[in-house]
Structures are given as structure tokens and as C-alpha cells.
Subunit: 425 residues, 4 copies
């Protein structure tokens, strides 16, 4: 009864580099086994691709200067009401995963289910429960899985001054309610992770802001979420997703360091970080830097895979198709042995506004999946070869067998003085 929205699109399969089929993978071969040092896994297990409901199904092509451009079939199909429309979208999502051959998906609560009329909280809850029920059925039928869920605490006008950091208690409570319901939904769907992206957790001007209080409130919300997960027996991974500059002019979770510092200050041990590449570059770091900085602190949880436009100063959420960059990212990921529970490569990426065909949704995902698969294989080859590691080892070899532990500054200085001459370089 639900239309087949991709009837004209063939199933996307691996065909190798010589194919001329635009609906085929040239490099991503889901079940091919790739070994990194001693660990062998299928490509689909190393990469754990995930499709984002918000961009792929709900992206409408609006920008700050223009109206929506997309007319997706699931939006233009006949539908009697908002919930009927929501069901069409959910079906479109699973049809898309099916055609593309991706195992995982991610969503915000408001992506999949509308708020109740006039903000009616009971109706909002019913809507969400209904859509979770449908998603569960579709998951069971298809074998697709939920990578992570999240609550949209930024689109509604009520969050304009913050959600967990709102100066208005009612708004804070509203955020807490959404988080609880989204955690329940995630658990119901077997989600492996839960992400907090603090879109409105920041400030417009310090002159009206009590930064200390706001960050304490945010930490309280995170602690409450963690406690609730324990209570309901959900053992997934909590993740903070840093982002600078927008939509708050000053975002608290600016980058990995800001998030890590906050987690340490508030002793939030159950949290890791979801690094988004375009967020990384907006904060003045390369994506590999943010991944490595998280990895070396045991905080690298998951990746929102995309890229920015180096000439633009905001989040353009482009599909990452660049092989050297894919390789740099996979080197960090493989160095930590791949993803753990709750981690994956989630396509937080969207078509350009003027790209309005359903085919384009496929081309974009396919090209990025191929790029990441090439990056996986290139990184594995580099690590298996060992030359790069040898180079690093040689570079630090003067420290071999020498511990700084317990040496006083006077000791170190005395060792230096014994050299008589400062090292040249």
C-alpha cells in the first residue's frame, strides 16, 4: 500500500572499478574482508555506514535566501494528515537503506514524528510512539539497525535561548522530557548510541549570560540522562557532538577540547565524542586532528562523515569524496581498532540546493561510500606495510628506555648541562 518511491532505481551492488553503471559501487564491497594488522573484518563492519533521516529524507533544499527546492515523492504522495505523511517518510527511509545496501540509520525525534497540535505534549508522545512502532516493524522486516538516536533541541522557537542551557526552567524541563522520550525510543529500537548536539547550547552575548550556571545545568541534564539509561537498562554509548559558530553565535561544545574539558570538569564518564568532519574544519582543525585528539584521550566514539567548503564559513555538509582525506581519517580509526558499540560513519551530508532528483541521493551516497572504502583499503595497506610506524618509532627513539617519571627539573637540567653544548637541531 505504501508506494515504492525508488521503483526506477536498481539495487546498488559492487561491480568494481571498470563498471559504467552509475548505480553500482566501484570500491565498496560490503562483505569483502579487510585485515588490519591482526584484525580481519568485512568492509561493512569496519565502516558501519549510516544514513541520516534528517538530510536524506527530510532535506528540502531551503537556504537562508531561498525557499525549498526538493519535491521528493514521499512528500508529494497523497496523504491524509501529518502522521500519514510521517509514515510515508519512514517507509522511504527503509526503502532507501534497502536499495543502497546500508545497514544503519540515525534520526532526531522530530524528524520521524511531528509535535502535537499547539505543542500538546500527550499528542506529541503518541506521535513519537506510533512512529517508533513503525520503525521497529520495518527494522525487523529488513534487518536494518539504529546507530543512534537524538532529540532535536534546536528547531523549535522555545529553544531559541538554549535547551539544557535555557534561562527558562519550563524550556529546560521540555528538553528533559524530549531527551527521556528519545532515550526510550532509542532503547525500543535497539539503538547503540545516543547523541547530544547542543545546537542552541551557547550564547548570543555575554552581557545577558551566566556561563557558569548554564554549563552546570547542561551537566545536570547529561547526568540525569545517564542515570535514566542505567535505570531502564540501556547500555549504549552517550556521545557529545561538538560544533562551533552556529546556530548559537558562541557554542559551548566548540570542538573536541571544549567537550573533553567539560566532560572532565563535570565528571561525565559515560560520554564519548561524535566528531563531525565539517564541524572540525569550522573550528579551525582538520578532521583527522579532532579524531586523533579524541582517540588519544579514549573519547572517539563515532563520526559524522562529511566535508565543508574551505571557502565558506559555515557547515555545508557536503558528501566526502576525497581519497586522501578519507585515508587520513581511516588511519586514525584503524589505529584504534575500528568502531566500538555506538560508533559508525553516519552521512551527515546533503545534496546541494539545486540538486533535486532522487537519483542524486544515490549518486552522492555511493560516491562517498566508495571514497571511504578506498580510504579504508589505503589506510589498511599503510598500517600493514609498517613503514610509517617505523618512521615514527625512529623519530622518537632517543626516548627509548628513558622515563621522565620521577625526574626532577634539576635532574633534567643537570643532564642537559652535561652536554656542554645545546643541540643544534
Amino acid at each position: 500500500e505504501c508506494p515504492d518511491f525508488f521503483a526506477d532505481i536498481p539495487y546498488v551492488r559492487f561491480e568494481g572499478n571498470q563498471t559504467s553503471n552509475l548505480f553500482a559501487f566501484r570500491h565498496y564491497d560490503a562483505d569483502e574482508v579487510v585485515c588490519v594488522r591482526d584484525t580481519c573484518r568485512k568492509q561493512r563492519e569496519w565502516l558501519r555506514f549510516s544514513v541520516a533521516f534528517w538530510h536524506t529524507i527530510r532535506g528540502e533544499g531551503r537556504d537562508p535566501f531561498g525557499e525549498p527546492t526538493k519535491q521528493w515523492p514521499w512528500e508529494t504522495a497523497p496523504a491524509s494528515d501529518k502522521m500519514e505523511r510521517a509514515k510515508l517518510r519512514m517507509n522511504a527511509m527503509f526503502q532507501f537503506l534497502d536499495k543502497l545496501g546500508v545497514d544503519w540509520w540515525c534520526f532526531h525525534d522530530r524528524d520521524i514524528a511531528p509535535e502535537g497540535e499547539g505543542g500538546d505534549l500527550k499528542e506529541t508522545e503518541r506521535n513519537l510512539l506510533a512512529m517508533v512502532g513503525l520503525a521497529k516493524e520495518l527494522q525487523q522486516a529488513s534487518g536494518k539497525k539504529l546507530l543512534w538516536a537524538t532529540a532535536n533541541l534546536f528547531s523549535s522557537p522555545r529553544y531559541m535561548n538554549g535547551a539544557g542551557t535555557s534561562p527558562d526552567k519550563a524550556v529546560f524541563l521540555s528538553a528533559a522530557l524530549q531527551v527521556k522520550q528519545a532515550l526510550d525510543a532509542g532503547k525500543e529500537l535497539g539503538g547503540e548510541g545516543y547523541v547530544f548536539w547542543g545546537g542552541r547550547e551557547g550564547y548570543a552575548t555575554l552581557l545577558n549570560t551566566d556561563m557558569g550556571v548554564e554549563l552546570d545545568h547542561l551537566a545536570a541534564l547529561f547526568r540525569a540522562a545517564s542515570g535514566y539509561a542505567d535505570k531502564i537498562g540501556w547500555r549504549g554509548q552517550f556521545l557529545i557532538e561538538p560544533k562551533p559558530r552556529e546556530p548559537s553565535a558562541n557554542q559551548y561544545d566548540y570542538d573536541v577540547s571544549a567537550a573533553a574539558s567539560f566532560l572532565r570538569q563535570h565528571n561525565l564518564q559515560r560520554f564519548k565524542i561524535n566528531v563531525e568532519c565539517n564541524h572540525a574544519t569550522l573550528s579551525g582543525h582538520s578532521c583527522a586532528h579532532e579524531l586523533e585528539l579524541a582517540r588519544t584521550q579514549d573519547l572517539l566514539g563515532s563520526i559524522d562523515i562529511n566535508r565543508g567548503d574551505p571557502q565558506s564559513g559555515w557547515d555545508t555538509d557536503e558528501f566526502l569524496m576525497d581519497l586522501p582525506e578519507a585515508t587520513r581519517l581511516m588511519l586514525v580509526l584503524l589505529e584504534q581498532g575500528g568502531f566500538e558499540r555506538g560508533g559508525g560513519l553516519n552521512f551527515d551530508a546533503k545534496l546541494r540546493r539545486e540538486s533535486t532528483n532522487v537519483e542524486d541521493l544515490f549518486y552522492a551516497h555511493i560516491a562517498s561510500m566508495d571514497a571511504m572504502a578506498r580510504g579504508l583499503k589505503a589506510a589498511a595497506a599503510i598500517l600493514n606495510d609498517g613503514a610509517l610506524k617505523d618512521l615514527k618509532t625512529r623519530r622518537y627513539r632517543s626516548f627509548e628506555g628513558y622515563s621522565l617519571e620521577g625526574r626532577s627539573l634539576a635532574d633534567l637540567a643537570a643532564e642537559a648541562m652535561a652536554m656542554e653544548v645545546a643541540p643544534s637541531h
Copy 2:
């Protein structure tokens, strides 16, 4: 016998806003008492201005595209050798402080004393001790004081791959030696603080870098320095000065969050942060943001006062002369009750390359001192008036008497559901 390098420059005094004397303060009245809420202090005590040896005395006007332009009298005066030259500079420093009426100064070890020939460590040590001796005499004669000292661990080719993070043990030891000697020098001169600016603590490419090891080494150096301070009985303030982007393409101490996270991770409790305004803006934050972020974590130690060029992507170290900005900064500083030991407004600012007259050194400092004094008075007036604080209090009043402590997510969500309708905004 040392020449009077500023013989033609009059002593700079407060003359008020109507003066036409370019060598007078229009707003900075050192001994005028300014009260903030219940605390009354002289302007000189609130502001604690400090002159930077490196820019003011050693600045030569070189840039990446051109040769030095300055011909300061203390550089062109007859001098028999490097140490003689160093003494002329030190005298110039104290003559400048005297004429300008500033109480404090800051220096790097290499600013004040040359390295020994061919890197001879004994000679290097003798040179430094000699210059510290001269500085001590000049301090005693003038009543001027040392705000903080630091070691230059970035100019020498030996630090091209890092100092505390160098992959070469000999270079690490060399850095440790410099830190020890600089700490000794600071103690001898009664310095209130000691700053680590990690100019080369970063990396050029992740491909040859072991970030975890490098940061552990850096933490070990900081711990050793802290232990040494205890041992020699120096009770001053250690400070980390964050900076992004240069000279290392990727600097570890990127911003306040990066430094705070590092300090927490490595349990370095004796350290605070020296925020430089231009470093703040380069990292994508306003200077007030970095100050406030440090303040709310009890990490705001001192300020390198300057400003950048919003159209340039590097540290331009311009003198801050903008009243609204000065007010924003002073609001944060006064909110924490002013500086504690080791803190001050250090002019990490330089003349433009084409500004080559001695008079310009005075104009620049005077203008910035006046701007900061106006900012002090404006901020004090705002805080004493109380309206801004009332506005903030009202903004958060819905949380009054309501503690998030101990409330579970289920409790919070239940409170929200009881509202029946989500808040509009």
C-alpha cells in the same frame, strides 16, 4: 654612563581629556581610586600594566617579506660586544618604564641575554646570570617589578620540532634546562608569575607524530617545573598561554578549552591561563569569551593585552585602543575582583613595521593605557549601577529556589508533562 635613550621624551603624566600634549595620559590616572562594588583600588592596581621586553625593546620590524626597519638608539649606540649590547637594552627597558610610568615588565630569557657562542651552555648561563644581576639592580633603583618571566623555547632551530614535545631527548633536556634557569631568574627578580607559551608544541603532520607521547612529555615538563618551584620556595603563579595556528601548523594549546582540558587530564593544579586577546580571536573566540571561560573555571590568571586585525589570519599583536572592547574585557576582570598574584595587563603588542620612531613607542602604549583606563571606569560604572546584573538575575529567575541536584530525568520529564503544552518561547 649608559646613554639616556629617551632624553627628548618628557615624563608621561595624567593631564585629562582636554590636553593637546601627545605625551600625556587623557584617562589613565595611576593613583586615582576606582571602586567596584565594595572594593576600592588605584587604577594602577586594577590594571597592573606591564611592558614586554621582546616587542618594545627587541622589536626590529622584520616580517616574512622584509628586513628589519627599526634603528633603535640602544641598538645603534656604540657597544663592544653582545653583552654590552644586552646591557644597553636592559637600561633602555627601565628608562622606558620610568618615562611611561609603568610598574611592571615581562621578558623571555633570550630577550635579555644572548646564548653562548656555538651554544656553549656555561657561557649561556653566565650571560643570563649577569643580565639578571643588572635587572635586579635596576629594579631596586626604580621600584619596578617583574610580572612574569618565560623561557624562549621556539626561536632556536633546535626547537623546530618542539621543545617539551620534541621527539629528540637532547632537545627536551635543553628545554628543561632553560625552564630551570628562567625559573631561577624569575625568582631572583621577585617575579610573580611564570608563563609557558608552547610556540613549537604542536605538529606539522599527524603522519610523523605521536600525539599521546608528546603531550605526556609536555605534562612531565610542567610537573617538573612545578616541583622545582616548590623546592626553591617560589610561590608564584604558573600560567599556560594558549595560541592556535602558528608557529606550529597545529598547536596543542589551541585555546582556553584545550589548555583547561590538558591541565585537568594531567592533574596540573598549580597552573592558570594567560589569555592573549589576539590568540583568542585567532582561535575563533572573542577575547571576552576566553576570559569568561577561564574565569568561570577559576583559571583566569593574566592577560596579554592586544588585538588582531579581523582581516588577517595571524597574530598581528596590535595595541588595543578600542573602548567598547576594553569595557567588555574589564567587565570580566572586575567580575572576578581584578587580578591576583602573577596577573596583569601585559602589552604583548608592537608597532607596525613602518613605524620607526621612538616617539611611536610612547604614543602606542599611552593610547592603549588610556583605552584600558576608560574601559576600567566604564566597566566599574556598569557594575556599580547594577542594572545589568538585575537583567541577568531576572532572566534566570524561573530557576530561583529550584535545584537540579538529585532530580532524575524521569522526575524532570514528569514535571514537563504536567505542563500539558510545550512552552512556546
Copy 3:
């Protein structure tokens, strides 16, 4: 019968710096005469403030991450249909101008009148004519005047690939139609200028773009517009408004130089430039730079007055309230003797998303008008004093009485060789 949307707001009058009335000007005294060298004019004549229909009346507080926040009374008042709603807005515009005491306004065609159903061109035309008729009545009743009109060639999905540069002829024709109708509207309302802002005139990727053809088409549209103005006897000023980066990833009219180069290449002599300050800063220039660059080429036509956020990489359209910046801009404007026909200070500025009260619209405009009035008086004082001009004259005096005209490189080189020694500096 139209409601009084600002019934609770008093008329805004000049009260001087000591007033505590938030609805008063402290510095802007419309009828005060300010003399610059030999020219004396009222403040309102030097400044020619204009309110922008799009931001002030139509701004809704949407951003890329969130829904509209504003609930302006003219949008929530009962209205039977789209045209009824349009009339309420137009009345709100003139009520606002009246209360604020601003003489001029600016609009896009689509700001004031809705498109016909389903894109019906006849209905679109009728709608526009009706609203122009109402605006004319309101202008006559109030004495308010139109600074400039423009056509919105960027919001509709049909312009997603460009308007004058669209690869689709039907879209180009549609743009031409809008321009013709907007020129007719501007003439009917006595508009002094007409602005082209090429929001979609650019490209997403060079791979599908024929830049040469697109720019030729754009020039053809401009030429046709100019010819039409002659034909209908409209003698106003055409203006190009440069903008970099958005919404097209690559905008053709990047900055003043790009626009000037284009005008020269295509011999479009009737055009000047409308410099928007935030567009200037986004293109890597100060606003004063763009004004001066245009002025020295006799291309400075009008100014969209606003400012950006130095920490954000897009057009934030904030109200300019900074006195030093206002002074820098007014120095350039006064240097050219103020505005000519078609020029003014148009407030292309908006409230922050979380600022949702009608009062805020007034506070924002008042503060910026006061800032610009202070800038006017400061710049006039600087120019009247003459010291700055003397400084410049002295700086270039070595060229006095020396013409480069007609001197060959060999002559110049011979003069230099006669110096025997290169100048030091």
C-alpha cells in the same frame, strides 16, 4: 481601519545624551545643521537613513537550524487573504517610519506583494500594482520617500541556478520580467535608485558552468534594464550590490573590484555600487576599504549599513553601533561630499533570532542611527580641523610639482642613479 501596530510606542525624538528615555535619540538630531568644510546640511540630509522592508517588516527569525520566532502584530492580525496581509504589512512599514522619524524606505518586489497562485504571472502583476498603489498613497500621506527598489531574483526555486545567469532561458526571461516590473514600480513611487543584488548569480561548480556565457547574459540584462529606464524616462541611479560566498558558493559580484571590473568590461556606465558593510567584511576587506575603493573610481552610490560578526563566516546583518567604525565610514562619505541621488544609509540589518519584541525593532534602529550621527559629527570635526589632511599632504609632498606623465622608465632610472645611493627609508 488598519490597526495601529505601534500604539504603545512613542514618537522617537532627539533628547540628547542625558535622557533616560529608551525611545529617544541621544545623538541623531534630524534637523541640526552640520557643516563639512564649506557644505552645510541637516543631519537627515547627510545621513539619508532608510528602513529595509525585508528585515524590519518581513523578518521572521528563521535560521538554518530553526523555525521562525517572531510574531509581529501585523502578521497575527486578522486578515482574510494574502493581499489583505500584504496591506497590513505596508501599513506597518509606514507606521514604523512615522514613529521612528526616518524619511526613506527600500523594498524587494516580493517583500511587498505575493506571487500569484501557481506562479500565475497576471495575478503576480496585479498584486504588485495594487501594493504599489497603496505604497504611493501612504507615501503621499506621510511624505516618506523611496530610496531604491529591487527585484527578488533569489528566493524562488526557479532561480536556484541563477537569474540573469541561469542556464535556462525561461528563467532568464522570468528575471527580466521581474526587473521590468520592479523598475516600473520604482518609477511610480519616485524611487531614486534601483539595486541589483545577484544572490544567485554565481555557480556551485565550474564543471557545469560556462562563466563567460553567464556573465555576458548578466551584462545583457543590465544593459536592457538601462535602456528601459531611458525609454520610460526614469533618471535614477542603477546600483550593483557586491556580495561574496552566499548564497551561491561562488558569487560573481564578489566585491567592489569584481563589480567594477565587470562594469568596465561590459561598458555599463550608468551603474554605481551599493556597498554593504557586512558583505565587505565577508570578502576580506574593511567596509571603509570598499567605500574608498569605490569612491576613488567614482562608483560609490549607496551604502547598506550594518556589520558582521568577526567570528562568523556569513552575513549576520547586525546593526552597526560602533562609533570608531561609524567615523571611518563617514570620513569616506564626507570626503566625496555626501550622497548623490539614489544614495543613502539603508538599514540592511535585523534583530537576532531571540529578540522578538516590537520594542526591539525601535531600540536597534535608534542605537544605530545614534551611532551614525556620532560618526557624522566626529568625521566632520576631523575634516574641518584639517590636521589629518595636512598629515597626508606632508606624506606625499616629495611628489609635489613632479609629474610622472611622459617620463620614460629610462628617465626615472637615470634620476634614481643620480642619487648614487638607494634611499634607506
Copy 4:
């Protein structure tokens, strides 16, 4: 008698993709013929690689925070004086070209010959003539050729306020003299081009700057240079190289548009543009954008091939090694049929400061030459395939057979109205 500075380095030859020899080309095969549409040329003719004297021979590894790191053998070899040193460098240059197999070189006057003592102009001239004589001998012996020459009008303190735009006539004359001598040198060496890079042609503050006068002076210098070329019978290509932001805080030749606008305003018809990729990205454009913008105006003369660091805000002059980027650039170059006289790919690129081995000079050039050769072949394949061109043709086909010439706005609008409904998209 000159030492062989690269005695340990083998001649670099093409060995193909399977080689493990670090001193071999994997993709650049100088004499391989590549056909683009109907034009067949050797790789060396398409690419016309050139080595830059300043970076490769004179680069010393200094940065704004540190002293030189390089100890090149031609600098440390015994030498009796400055001219002896200069001769060693020139020999090193030709030895390097020989080993690397590059045909072209570029230089600044001051790269190859020192100024006379105390600025003595006669000695300066003698020095330059002597080194030009040596270069000519080495060119004749080796068959290497000069792509372009330029005068260094930015390093000396005398140019701190500009060269052609200096407010000091003596400085302007000094610049004219250098230009004349550099033109003479270029002619003597058979140079195909002459470049003006206006490193100090800009301003620090508008408050002391007469922009109109300065740009008129600059145009006069360019005109005089052009006239002198005619007089001495040099028929090479004059080129302007745009650069934003540094070293002048505000550079007049900001980007291609600024240069093109200036050339048109001053009717300088003999000039084209030398696009440097890193300068392009600093000005907010992609390198391909600047190339295409110049190409469509018949202004693309030559390319300084390099890349920047997207995370740094200044000119990092890195070697371009990115295949997708190389392809994008070669697409533009091949679209215009390759370089004309005076054009080539000049390596305006340098080693990182911590890269201090002679081998690294080879690795860097080899890798970039290979990348550009791959880009050449990829771009040729794309153009020869024709699919991309077909796509573009189809995209604009609605304009086929339709001329905008001579159509009035009223005509165009009437055509649009005849559609009755606006195009959707």
C-alpha cells in the same frame, strides 16, 4: 671548480608507478606526447615547469617566530665574499635544474645578486650584471631557459610604505631603477615574461593614504615599463601577480578581479595575470576560480603552482600534491590550449621549516611534478571524452539560436508574460 652540491643525488628520470626509487618520476614523463582534442604536445611543453630561485636556493627556514634552520651546502661552502657566495648559489640552481630535469627557472633581482654596500647603486648594478652574465653562461651550457624575471620591491626597508605606491619620490625612483635593470636582465637572459608582484603596494591605514594617487603612480610605473620594453625590443609578456592580506595589511592587487579592474581602468593592455594558487585561496577563491576568471577575460598568463593550508590564514607556499586539485587546474589550462609565451607552472613552493635535507628539495619537486602530470593526463582524458562538455552544452541548450543582442527589456518581459506561468525550476 664549483662543488657539485648534489653529488649524492641521482638524475631524476621517469620510471613509472611501480618503482620504489624515491628519486624517480612515477607519472611525469617529460617527452611523452599528450593530445588534447586536436593538439598534441609533450608533457614538458604542456606543463612548462619552472623552479623558483628564491624558495629553492635561497629558502632558509626562518619564520616569524624562529631563526633559519637550513644549512644548504651552497651556503656553507667556503666563499671569500658576497659575490662569491652568489656565484655558488647560481651554480646550485643550474645543478638542481639539471638533476631534476626541469627546463625553466624564475628569479628576483635580489635573489641572484646582492645590493652594493650601503646601497651603492653603481655596485648594485655591477653585481647584477655579473650574475646575469654567469646565468647566461650556465643557460647556454645547459639549455635551461628563463620563464620570467622580477624585481624584489618589498624586502628592503626603503619599500616599507610601498614601491610604485610609495609616498616618497626617491623610493619610487629607486623602484623604477630596479624594474629597468630587471627588465634588462630578463631580456639579456631571453626571459619570456616579467612579473610585478606588489608586495608593498597597499596600505596600513586609510587615514594616511591617498589611494587614488598611489594607484595612479603604480599605473604610471607599469606604463613606463611597458614603454621601455618596446624601446629595447623585448617582446615578452608582462604579468601582474595578485595577492591579498600580506605583507601590506591591505594589498591593492587583491585578486584577479582587482588586477583586471586596475588594468582596464588604466588601459594597460600588454599585461596578463600570473595566478598563484595560495594567493587565490587566501583571497577567498579556489585556484580554479581565479584561473577561469582570468581565462574568460583572456588574462591568464602564468601560474605559480602551490597550495595553502586551509587552516592557516597566510601564504604557506606548500607543494601542490593533490590529484583532484591538479585536475581542476589543468582543466582550465587545457581549455585555453595550454600556456602561451611567458606562461608556465612555476613552483612558488617551499619546504616546511623543519625539513632541512637536500633530498627533501627533490622529493618535494618530484611529488608535485608527478601530481601535475597526473592532473594533465586526467584533464586531457576528461576533455577528450567529451561527456563533460556535452553536459554543459545540454545545460545551456535553451539559449541555442537565441541572441540577447538587441532585445529590449520590454521584449524580454513580453516573452516572459506569454508563458503565463513562471517556470517552477
